[in-house]
Structures are given as structure tokens and as C-alpha cells.
Homo-oligomer: 268 residues x 2
DNA sequence: AACAGCGTTCGTTATTGCTGAACGAAATGA
DNA sequence: TCATTTCGTTCAGCAATAACGAACGCTGTT
């Protein structure tokens, strides 16, 4: 076969692309995947997949169950993920600010970046007087169902925004907003107020308030509080939290080397 | 050039191997790395590295600073790392047992697996009445400086043990044990007592007590408590904790499908 | 203003990775 | 119990693919 897919071909390395594709399939996981099923799903020959898996296994990114022969992600990917966190500038600089905000607001604080059409949580500061809380670092949430996502997308280039608004907007709860126009209105409001809000759009009972963070090259991510609706969106409390979030986001941005008034510049 | 390196060649995919090598370099991180330096360090031509980086970037595993052109790990690796945790059977099954042990012992609990000569923490249950604690999931510790590592290595095949004892044993603190013979004695003691102990060998002030965990195919990892020396290694408390740790490890092993007396079988 | 360093692009070469066919082992069905 | 299918794995040949040297435009420095 010459050109199975007629997309224009970028100068990328095919085998690496395929290797990553395999890692993605394994990360979807479900039940453990066998070689034959993997080969079938990626649509390439069995021996090819085998060679790729052997390579990934030798590097520790994939592990094989010696009993069943099935393949799973290996410990190496966790090491890489951790290294990502430790080299992530936004995350490292946000640590102290997140703690500060968590103390001031007495709520859990999340820091996130945009990857594709999802928001990735890169830091989670626990609520000071909270009970058992599970760590959400690494969690991935559709941008349109959380305050962090809206805070970021609102300051993206217009073209990017249009793409994201045109993309699929699957609802997660009954409160999720799936209408592009309604979302666009919210983004407009985020730009004028400087913060975004979420009301149980990703998890019933939980709300969020977030503001964008900038660095020297522009938009970097977002920071915000997450917690029960009753606490976050009560009248008065609402505005008070928004001010605190926006304030910390601005200071964090300055530490990251953002110019003055990056917010206005991003809109230019 | 024909054979730059005379090692025997396995049937692995070269470009994938190189791509992972690049990811590893980026994870070492330090200051952000440029293309030229990367090419120099891996010893391959600049355009080759460039193509690999472009591919990894398109997949989100690498990101490029648009200002400086330097390369960093991308968010994709965090997503993979998280997927690893969520598909890791030992981890998933250990969640409830770890909580139970944390409650019984009133100490933080770690679950770990062996990767190369390091121990990788795959789960961390906080100490119930603890104050601010940082999450150690993803942390990597030399096997010979922690109870978890000794608990695992003690039940490895003899050949593997010999290799690890022969390898470099860098001391992390003044209490670290760098002598192979002394370590071998400790391993022998672990095998007879069923648990391993650490006294400030990785961090001054911290101690650990751990026991091995088995699944249907043999050794799977280890579980144990970590905390201040004064609390863990006080006379009496010491023995009491060891019993609790061993007990939970045994029950977790059974849930993972280990046969009866896997401990004895591992020694056969 | 000249330089040195960077990240990037291009086109050629043969090295490298891909594939179909075949193998033994294990799981499945009769 | 044996026949049958399905699995993971190995092999060797072909050609597509990835690697490279040379050259480009750019930025920051000397």
C-alpha cells in the first residue's frame, strides 16, 4: 500500500508516532490488551507492533504480564510524568501561591494547563481544614465544564477559541453547558470580569472559580479554587473569592515574567 | 559508518529507542535543553533529533518554549503516568489496605514496586492525624536505602540479588548502608522475619518498616509504613508495627491471587 | 558590522524498520 | 481425549523510511 491515509504528511518519525499510539491505547486500558488486539486496533502488522512493544518494554515504558502475555503501561511512564511535574515552571512557581490562596480562601486550589480540548491539573493544594481529600494531579477535564478551562480558553487566540467551540462539547452533568453560543457569552464575561466560574458542570455538588495565569510568552494556564457549591457560590462569598483568586493569579503571573497588563495584551 | 557500537543488536526499533532516550534526557532536565545540546548528548545528528522532537511534540510528550526554542517534557507524559497508576493492579487493590494500615498504625503508608535498582512509590496513604504532608507518589528511591526496597529485593531470584548487591550502592545519608555484605545479612534477616526495616538510610529522621507483596506470578512489590524514627523504631512499637505491616501485606497478597505461603515458595 | 551560535529545512543514501509467512505453545471446543 | 483455533513470537527479504551533511535564516553577542 502506498498512501492508506490521504492526509498531508508531516516530516515526523513514523515508528515513534506508532509507539506513542500504542502507549495511548494501553493507557485507555480497560482490560489488559494483547498483542493481536493492539495490532488490530492500530491497523498495523503484528510483528511490527511486537517490535515496538519490545522496545518500549526494554525502556520500561511498557510491561508484559508473564503469565498471560498481555501488555500494560510500565513504571517508566510514571517516572516521566513525575519529571514533567518537577520541571514544569508554572507548577513549581505556583506551589507557594497555591498554598497562600488555599489558606486565604480556605478551599482546595487547583492549577491547570490546556492540552488539546482538556484541562490538565498540574497542582493541587489541599483545603487547610479539610478531611480526607484525594489528590487530583494528573486529572483531565473537558475545558468547557470547569472554571479553569474557561479561564484559559477565554484568552486564547480567536481562531483557537472558534475551533474549541466548534468541537464536541459532551455534557458531564445536567448542569454542563453544551451550547457554543452560551459558552461564548460566558467567555466574553470572563474577559470583562477577569475570572471564570463553574456551577456543577463537571461534578454535581462541586463548583469552581478560576483566573488565567500568564508568563513571558503569553497564556500559561489557570489557577482557581474548587469546592462544594454551597460554600463557593453563596452570594457575597462568591465575589470575595473571585477577588482573591484574581489577585493571586496576577501575582503568580508577575513572578512568571508576564509583562504588565498581560490580560489586556492577550485581548489585543 | 557501519557499526558505531559493537554491542550485539537486539531486534528493537532504533528510532523509538532514541526517542525515549531523549525523553529521559529531558526528564533529567536541569536547565531547559536546546536542540544542539540534546543532539550532542545522545550523540546523533541534529536533524535526526529534530525530527524525533517534532514527532514527540505533535503527540504532546514534548513541548517547545516558543521564545527560546528550548525543549521540555510535555503534558502528555503526565497523562500517561496517571493512566499507569489507574491501570496498575497492585496499586488499585492496595488502596483500601493502605488506608486500613494507615489507620491501624497511625502512620503514612507507601506502596512501591522495583524498577531497575530503584523503588518507585505507586501509592501513598496519608497519616490519619497528620498535618500538611506532601504526596510522594512517583518518587524514586535507591532500593538499598529503604525498607520497601529491602523487602522486595530479599525475595528476588538469587542472581538478581547478586547483581543488585554488586551494583553501585550510593549512600544518601550518614546512616545509609553501602557495604554489600552488611546488606546481604539484612536481606537474610528479612527472609527469616518477613519484614524489612530502615533507619534514616534515605532521609535523616525518617524510618520505615515494610513487607513484600505477592501476586499470582510471584513478587509484586511491597507495602510499609514511613515516619519519624522516634515513633517507628521505639522498642515495642517496633515489633507491634512490624506485625501489622506483615499482616496487611499477607492479606493484600491473597487478594492479588498469590498462592498460599508465597513467601516460602519464593525462597524455594 | 562581523561573527558565532541557535533551530530549522532540504535532498540523497542505504540503513532500518516493516511485512507475510511460518513456528510452537496455550487455550478452547467437541 | 484430541482437533482446532488463537495467541505471542521468530525469521528473512524487500523497499520504504529514517538518518545524515550541507546550507538556510535568524538572534544575540563581540
Amino acid at each position: 500500500m502506498l498512501f492508506s491515509n490521504t492526509e498531508l504528511r508531516l516530516n515526523v518519525v513514523q515508528s515513534v508516532q506508532r509507539a506513542v499510539q500504542i502507549l495511548r491505547l494501553l493507557s485507555a486500558g480497560g482490560p489488559r490488551l494483547g498483542l493481536a488486539e493492539l495490532a488490530d486496533r492500530v491497523g498495523i502488522a503484528k510483528p511490527t507492533v511486537h517490535a515496538l512493544l519490545r522496545t518500549l518494554e526494554a525502556e520500561g515504558l511498557v510491561a508484559q504480564d508473564r503469565q498471560t502475555g498481555k501488555y500494560v503501561l510500565g513504571p517508566g511512564v510514571l517516572t516521566l510524568g513525575n519529571a514533567f511535574l518537577e520541571t514544569h515552571e508554572l507548577r513549581m512557581r505556583s506551589l507557594t501561591w497555591a498554598d497562600l490562596l488555599a489558606a486565604r480562601a480556605n478551599e482546595a486550589v487547583w492549577v491547570a494547563v490546556l492540552t488539546g480540548d482538556h484541562v490538565l491539573v498540574v497542582h493541587h493544594a489541599f483545603r487547610p481544614e479539610g478531611a480526607v481529600q484525594i489528590l487530583e494531579v494528573g486529572a483531565s477535564i473537558p475545558w468547557h465544564t470547569c472554571a479553569l478551562g474557561k479561564a484559559i480558553v477565554a484568552f486564547l487566540p480567536e481562531q483557537r477559541q472558534a475551533e474549541l467551540l466548534a468541537g464536541p462539547l459532551p455534557p458531564l452533568t445536567g448542569c454542563s453547558i453544551a451550547d457554543p453560543d452560551a459558552l461564548n457569552d460566558q467567555l466574553e464575561q470572563v474577559r470583562s470580569s477577569g475570572y471564570a466560574q463553574e456551577d456543577q458542570e463537571s461534578t454535581l455538588g462541586d463548583a469552581g472559580i478560576a483566573a488565567p495565569v500568564f508568563d513571558r510568552s503569553g497564556l500559561a494556564g489557570a489557577i482557581g479554587v474548587v469546592g462544594p457549591v454551597e460554600r463557593l457560590l453563596a452570594d457575597g462569598q462568591n465575589q470575595d473569592l473571585a477577588v482573591k483568586v484574581r489577585e493571586v493569579a496576577r501575582q503568580l503571573s508577575r513572578e512568571l515574567g508576564a509583562g504588565r497588563a498581560p490580560l489586556a495584551r492577550a485581548l489585543a
